[in-house]
Symmetry: C2
Subunit: 513 residues, 2 copies
């Protein structure tokens, strides 16, 4: 039931990020006849393409009569031409919203209901508010195993899939995160693929952290590769280190992640579905999951880690995937850099076997690569880790990493931030602990990951004896505004470095350099 | 930490409803220096007033250099003048968001945490997405009694309060809704105030229903009364029948209701907090709560009704309010009209004791007025109901209603819809039941409550024998588009009138008249 009078497309030049908005004049015949007002949801039809958008009504000065304005993302989604004919329709009833309400009221959903929600989100029938309701209703362990399986399979079928008919086993690894700086993936992928495993790694960007693997790799090479290019990289090297978004693997997950980020939410069932849907869509058969545990990591204790590992195994088994979960030490940041560029520096120094390379990052990467080799060969753990270490120390991993970067578009120099501050201790003492969450927050406040150069370089490790005025970290930012804001955050959170004995006052000072 | 360069206010003429948006050029020095992109949340300072708004970045054609554009609601909230100097600041850390995450993850909040969330929502520090997360996390019975008390008291303290120092007891009544057409309030208030009770009734507009009491009363008289006017009405008549919004009673509740409406959500704890915060802020001491129960009413069974009544009593007792809950029959619509204008017709016919007045609406109003008189005088129930009936039948209630309307701005004629359709039955049979939710939805699809004339007039009651082609209802709409859309909805939901024996096919036809 479209209104018989068509309107003509007009590009407003307003960037609303992902939210689709259309703009119509208050005095427009359609608004008046249909009773449309600001915030009405409308179905927009342009040729064969349709979209549900939210209406903003506008004064006559900014939109010519007979036109309908589009936000940038709506314009691009509909692939519009200026003055193209547009039909405006009432929004069709979104039947899955009754399943959403059922979930919000605390009831479990069957596979049909869960699939209908995910399909409608994928078709952009949900508003941001409705997606926020769905994610909140699924948080806090309220998504059960069969719901998670339905969620995952629908997300896979909503997007592209990669197939590897010539390869029997396709490997992947994933760290569930929460540890700033824990950038093992580029090293592990280089070791594993140097050992002959096929490991086409696509990563997402940061959700709530200061950097995701895709953000860090983007500092070093191209990561947004179209599907054809990606296939070439993998055929040439047995691996890739790309961003998942461009390939269209589980694109609905990206719609969910956008709202999870706005809510600063990262729930268990969504996490499992997000990870496994990307792996399934990428055609993986064997997946290693790294679960770091620590009081300020994403997973706080062994019990929670085991619960998460069980959910991963149960869902994976329902999907026919081979999954191994390992629980690792998550008590402090791994490596010294936090933020895309600073983490990239650590990755290169480990791959190049440089003397100052952070030993903890090296050890973690060797351990995880060893676990992958175990899964592949059935060799015992010690033997597999020895093999991984030799590949790294011999330079084969570094050679392989360069090969992957060359195939993706060439290895780039790491940029340097425009501004930095040293953070120094006032008191001498032992560093008792550091707060991962607030370290991550500090790097984000400084601008990471949207400014790749922004972040932190840690100068100390837990257990270190620290003298007075010793630098504990360097803070990097791209703008003076962000640097000032991060400094203010640090002022309010000095105890994130717990460097004194319990009975002494804690204090740090920072100096502009 | 404002950026040192001020911008100047520019009215974009874009109506975004309640959501505050600001528009800045992509090439603006502040965006570039601070790294602001579309969807960044910003703090905006204009003189002494501040607001948190979401940024949309725009092309240079639609915004002059040095200007910052505002959506209509942001412009009005800040009370701006053209070219007024504006400072753009980073958003201060919203500390209550960590309490929100705690709630989302399924933990209970203490009074301080709950208050901090509500205060920050009231100060417009939350985005729509974050409010949706909060409401979803509290839905499905996940708000406990002490959380509800904290929620309620903070909502009361966030707004204006009415005080009645000269009156010992101030009465109020509230129906928790779900029954289309159940418009007893104007009748009950007229009877009770004619009997000498002080009952300053403020009502909200519809949340998920086709009409709230404020929507219906607005058909008959002015309901958006400033505080001073409201006081005069109450002093003159002992009562009022106004909308709550204008008076600023519990304004945070209105911010929550806007998102509840978008989510089509109406949760138990929020419901109790919403009702009791308005009552407390209005200075009520004695409140009657009507809980209709039926398979398609908001409350579906006796057990749920008792649970809700218990929550009402517990929260009220924590707040020092005297509350009586009554459970009433909610198996079918009350009265014949559904939608603001059609319900107003029923209210007037009952008050005027007209022969065709719907008997069920009369009886329900007399019952509830009797319960209020019981609370006031301690008389026995039969006696109190007899008194209520006499006040109605003698015309005192009608006289009192006119007095209230005169004081509020005069009694108006009820408007007539531009379009209507008769819905007729094809088969003869007995009306076994009707579906309240889908009746309400049908009236909403036809345009109620935003078109007050839109809605339904029922021609039959459950239990009636219906002959072939007998009209079962008339459908009203203001635009042909809405009429067509409602007709399509009815086509897909013919069984909402269950008029045939179980073993016969059900069918209705409608004709354009």
């Amino acid at each position: 039931m479209a209104h018989p009078l068509p309107l003509h497309a007009y590009r407003m030049g307003i960037d609303t990020h992902e939210e689709a908005l259309v703009y119509m004049r208050k005095d427009c015949a359609i608004c008046r006849a249909e009773g449309y007002t600001a915030n009405t949801r409308l179905q927009i039809k342009a040729g064969e393409r349709t979209l549900i958008a939210t209406l903003n009504t506008v004064a006559e000065e900014i939109l010519p009569l007979g036109k309908i304005g589009f936000s940038e993302s709506a314009w691009e989604f509909l692939n519009l031409q200026t003055d193209q004919e547009i039909l405006v329709l009432h929004v069709p009833q979104v039947y899955s919203l009754s399943a959403l309400r059922k979930k919000i009221y605390g009831h479990s959903l069957n596979a049909t209901e869960m699939s209908s929600i995910i399909r409608d989100i994928g078709n952009r029938l949900y508003s941001d508010i409705e997606i926020a309701g769905f994610l909140t209703a699924c948080a806090g362990g309220r998504l059960n195993c069969s719901e998670t399986i339905a969620l995952t399979t629908t997300m896979v079928s909503n997007g592209n899939r990669l197939y590897w008919p010539e390869v029997e086993r396709v490997f992947d690894k994933h760290c569930i995160g929460g540890l700033p700086g824990n950038r093992t993936t580029p090293i592990v992928v280089s070791i594993a693929s140097a050992a002959g495993l096929v490991i086409p790694k696509t990563s997402s960007r940061a959700i709530t952290s200061p950097a995701g693997t895709a953000d860090t790799m983007e500092v070093l090479t191209d990561v947004d590769l179209p599907l054809e290019k990606l296939r070439k990289v993998i055929t040439r090297t047995g691996a890739c280190l790309a961003a998942g978004g461009e390939v269209g693997l589980s694109p609905t997950d990206d719609l969910l992640i956008r709202i999870e980020r706005a809510l600063n939410l990262d729930s268990e069932g969504q996490l499992v579905a997000s990870v496994l849907s990307k792996k399934m869509a990428a055609g993986s058969t064997h997946v290693l999951i790294d679960i770091p545990v620590g009081p300020t990591a994403k997973v706080r204790d062994q019990e929670q880690a085991e619960k998460l590992a069980l959910l991963f195994r149960n869902v994976a088994s329902g999907l026919g995937l081979n999954v191994r979960c390992v629980v690792t030490d998550g008590t402090q940041a791994i490596g010294n850099g936090i933020g895309p560029a600073e983490e990239a520096r650590d990755v290169l120094s480990v791959l190049r076997n440089e003397a100052h390379a952070p030993a903890d990052l090296t050890e973690r990467a060797v351990f995880l690569a060893g676990e992958l080799l175990c899964m592949a060969t059935g060799a015992d753990r010690d033997q597999a880790q020895q093999q991984a270490r030799e590949i790294l120390q011999s330079g084969q991993a570094w050679q392989q990493f360069r090969k992957i970067c060359d195939a993706q578009g060439g290895l780039r120099d790491i940029p340097v931030a425009s501004h930095h501050i040293e953070l120094r201790s006032t008191y001498a003492g032992r560093l008792r602990s550091m707060d991962n969450r607030r370290l991550a927050r500090l790097a984000k406040v400084a601008g990471a990951p949207s400014s790749p150069e922004a972040g932190l370089r840690l100068r100390v490790k837990v257990g270190d004896m620290i003298s007075e005025h010793q630098p504990v970290a360097t803070l990097y930012a791209e703008t003076s505004g962000e640097l000032a804001y991060a400094r203010e955050y640090y002022h309010q959170n000095r105890d994130l470095f717990n460097i004194a004995p319990m009975d002494l006052p804690l204090s740090n000072v920072e100096q502009l350099t």
